[in-house]
Symmetry: C2
Subunit: 585 residues, 2 copies
């Protein structure tokens, strides 16, 4: 036995107990004839005390220790003379009587502190040392607790966790698969799953009724900001449910997590249609920590000969509370912001509603005060507010206005990370038209059920058909999404027709699931949450990377273990594959 | 909402309640003017009742249903006139007033019953229907509960579940890796982990203190009986522990699982050394549900000129209680058994200790009754017992005697699947000599710690060095194994030397971990359990296959989804690989 206690648990009540602790040397301080060591483990920090006069040799031994050495000490718990109220063990220290070096340590390439001097690259290369930092490990502890509480909640609700295979078949649709050459079936490949979608629907056909799995999924995509080639889903499916059943159950799960882990009671989640989300926020994942909804003012801009507005399909405004006092410079910054290529607006129009009731606008050459007043009234603006207006093609302009809204929210400090606003976005369109190819694609996937009342539209106005599909959005981040699935094979056939599949193509791509569905598929639906992102929201992180113990960089490399790497010719031979000569690539 | 209740929960106390159920038509029986349907879901079976006289149309509708159709019914709970005590809902039935067909079903290719008429191949092809059978689904429910209870126990003990990467680097040692070509790093490959060994040790360096993970692992091996290319481990590691700490904690976990899931209290697990396991059972995973230990009788066989025994390094016996009455035919069967090529004994010698005290043996031409009596006494035989004796080279003969012992245990009904005997096998040899190559290999892995008291032997008699390595064995099946790791870098260097590595080779293969160990590695150790096998023991299954929702066959194929499969040339091009032409394979 290496220790009687951890470095986080001793208190004043333990005074005079003889204890043995083990951990890492975090700090050494020499003061007069005393040496103090902060001994650190996962559970906390305990101060060790050595007295030159009382035990000269032991104190000398302590003085020779280095940062991050691993030691074991035995000693007596004593009340400290100068207490440290910042740490739970701050009332006591250990008067050490025995010191045992368990391992030495080279000087780490960066400091193992909350604020480290290590750069990103160095920290990733020495990830095992980075993980020793409290702030980083805390994120992994949080992840553990979220996964654990998710399992507890779902187990309580009769969900069974079922492991689905990692070595599956490659599917032609969707994102790119990672593939695994099969040695025993040369010329053939497994694929790593992008999601267990197929298997969880099969489990419903099997009558498993309530399935979940916290599961690794894989996508061989170019890794733009904050994507990982392997990521973790909380994947769920239920039978004999409609959309309301699914939303209620997983709203319950989300509230449970907020309650047990953050100690926060979240009120019932608003449910907003996709159409309204686009209309009021220009986004299917609106950040509802602040209002600042869009107001369309097109009809109030007509008839004065202002060409830009007249020729625009859409004129929309947001009202920035208390911003009438913005300087010219500030307004110019906002104009530059919306004109950035990533956003792409041609310009920004403002209307200042000054505190004294006077109105000033960048378009007051065209619109008199009476008209501008109408805009302000429609936008519920008060004296002191600033109206920001964008115009153009509807969808594009809504997206630009969304970016502007978020920027204003940030500038006004309305996006507090500890303020959690959850909502369901529902009634997503079933289909998305690829204008170039002139055909429809499934917005979610081809098994998503259209709303019963919209089925008739499949023939006449397919683009208007709404789906029983839903997303959970927290603070403007999509945390999860799912749908009620089609379980009726004639409706499924209809879907394939709308999606432009021939019977043969449908059979080739989805025949397997279709076959299973002929043997008594129950009504079913589900949802999947991105665990990495869910944890990052709880941790207040901007990136998912620090929610993952050993993440990969944007080139898909693990720089710590230096993977991927080359393999031997013999290995490739056994697999029946070879590298393509460089020139033919 | 599709149902007010499941098919498993209604009782007599619910009588007269109006309920709505949904599920699968399991059986239809027509009796006189009545139609009875067994409606099935995951939770149970409820009888539905239709009366031709009371509601003719509805009853006709019911008569048209087929097996495995999915229906929804509304009706009143009534006490049954003829109760069925075999099912929990057997006291009631539903007098149906409304019937709604949710989905039809083709006739399944085999019956969805406990005893099915479907053959193995058919059941695997239609695994989603096989899983609908109660007996199969129960195994997956058991697996869920075991995984859940494992997590609860370990969470309670301060273990953190940390996900380690699935896309890692390929390691040259050990079993064959599955590899994954990297598109972004052409010519390079990820490997799928055979275990998270490296990462869990790094997490100890990171100070995570107690790690676990229920995790998929992968081995591209030829699949002999009861192996799967992907399998699941309960993988654990702890810091600041010695062997006793690890054994005690995971003995606690095992007891917890037996208690919570099987309702069985298991006494403290015996701990037996590897040497004793070989000596008394001829196996490092002895089945201790029955005694029948080996007795070595070599010294009692010498000096009478029986060449076979005289020239044998080892003569060992087992005493089969009450088997003196075995017929000639039965003894011949046992002789044939040990002479099978898989076992390879040259013959079997018996000594019958008849009830009347007389002794009869196949070698009584060589050994008089006095000597044979000595054998019997040494083996603790009683009148009525049968001694079975094998001779030859020690290790080989012990293995043969082990097979014979297990066979006798089976014949005597001593291997009851519901009788659980757990034990720890400890003190495994650190090294194993490959006689052909004339060098030592690590029996566990190169990071396993030798016993402190044996370290001196590393130079003089490396083969005799025992390791701090241990296996958990239940009913003769190895469920898990692990070791205390080396954390001292000079001892680690020594190990590499003993294993015949040059410094350069050690650096190339293990440099990465060695580097991490220079930054304050704590003493640590761990264990990994095979979840599939653990579940199969609890389920009383002989194979792990039915503990897995979607297993692969011995050719590594998933016959249900028909994977692996070919991929397109474009996919291979993107990955920078090509298939080797057939002739060059």
């Amino acid at each position: 036995m290496y220790r009687t206690n951890t470095c986080g648990e001793l208190r004043l009540a333990d005074a005079n107990r003889e204890v043995t602790l083990a951990g890492w040397v975090s700090k050494i301080r020499r003061m007069g004839g005393m040496t103090f060591i902060d001994l650190r483990d996962r559970y906390g920090i305990t101060q060790l005390s050595f007295n030159q006069e009382v035990n000269h040799d032991l104190c000398e031994q302590a003085n020779k220790l280095g940062r991050e050495w691993v030691i074991q000490v035995t000693g007596r718990v004593m009340e400290r003379s100068s207490k440290n109220s910042n740490i739970p063990t701050g009332d006591i220290e250990i008067i050490v009587s025995e010191l045992n070096v368990l391992n030495s340590s080279k000087t780490p390439p960066f400091t193992i502190e909350t604020e480290t001097d290590g750069g990103d690259e160095l920290r990733m290369k020495y990830r095992y040392l980075d993980l020793r930092r409290n702030v980083v490990r805390k994120n992994l502890e949080l992840r553990h607790r979220m996964a654990f509480e998710t399992r507890s909640y779902l187990n309580e609700k009769n969900f069974m966790e079922v492991e689905t295979p990692v070595l599956i078949g490659s599917t032609p649709e969707g994102a790119r698969d990672f593939v695994v050459p099969s040695r025993m079936n040369q010329g053939e490949f497994y694929a790593l799953p992008q999601s267990p979608q197929l298997f969880k629907q099969l489990l419903m056909v099997s009558g498993f009724d309530r399935y979940f799995q916290i599961v690794k999924c894989f996508r061989d995509e170019d890794l733009r900001a904050d994507r990982q080639p392997e990521f973790t889903q909380i994947d769920c499916e239920m039978s004999f449910v409609d959309q309301n059943d699914v939303l209620n159950l997983f709203e319950g799960l989300t509230k449970h997590l907020f309650k047990t882990i953050k100690g926060v009671d979240i009120p019932d989640f608003p449910r907003i249609s996709y159409a309204d989300a686009m209309k009021f926020y220009g986004s299917d994942k609106p950040d509802t920590r602040f209002e600042m909804r869009f107001t369309e003012i097109k009809e109030l801009t007509a008839g004065v000969g202002f060409g830009i507005f007249d020729s625009s399909e859409y004129v929309g405004a947001i009202c920035a509370e208390g911003c009438a006092s913005y300087t010219r410079k500030q307004v110019d910054e906002l104009t530059d912001f919306v004109k950035r290529p990533q956003i792409g607006a041609l310009g920004l129009i403002y209307v200042r509603y000054n505190e004294d009731g006077s109105i000033k606008s960048s378009v007051d050459k065209f619109y008199n005060e009476e008209i501008l007043k109408k805009w302000l009234v429609k936008c519920n603006a008060k004296p002191g507010d600033l109206l920001l207006v964008l115009a153009g093609e509807t969808e594009k302009t809504q997206k630009q206005l969304n970016e502007l809204r978020l920027e204003m929210g940030t500038r006004l400090g309305l996006r507090d990370k500890e303020n959690y606003k959850c909502l369901w976005v529902v009634d997503f369109p079933l289909l998305e038209k690829d204008e170039e190819l002139g055909r429809f694609f499934a917005k979610h996937h081809p098994f998503t059920s259209p709303k019963a009342e919209d089925i008739a539209l499949l023939d006449s106005d397919a683009g208007a058909v709404r789906a029983n599909a839903y997303d959970l959005v927290i603070n403007g981040v999509e945390i999860g999404g799912g749908s009620i699935r089609i379980h009726d094979s004639s409706l499924q056939k209809k879907m394939f027709t709308v999606l432009g599949f021939t019977d043969e193509q449908a059979e080739a791509q989805f025949g397997f699931l279709m076959k299973a569905f002929q043997y008594g598929a129950p009504p079913h639906g589900g949802i999947a949450f991105g665990l990495d992102r869910f944890v990052s929201i709880f941790a207040g992180l901007d990136s998912i990377r620090d929610t993952i113990a050993f993440p990969k960089n944007t080139a898909g490399r693990d720089v710590m273990i230096d993977a991927p790497s080359t393999v031997t010719i013999e290995q490739l031979d056994e697999l029946g594959i070879m590298l393509k000569p460089a020139e033919s690539n």
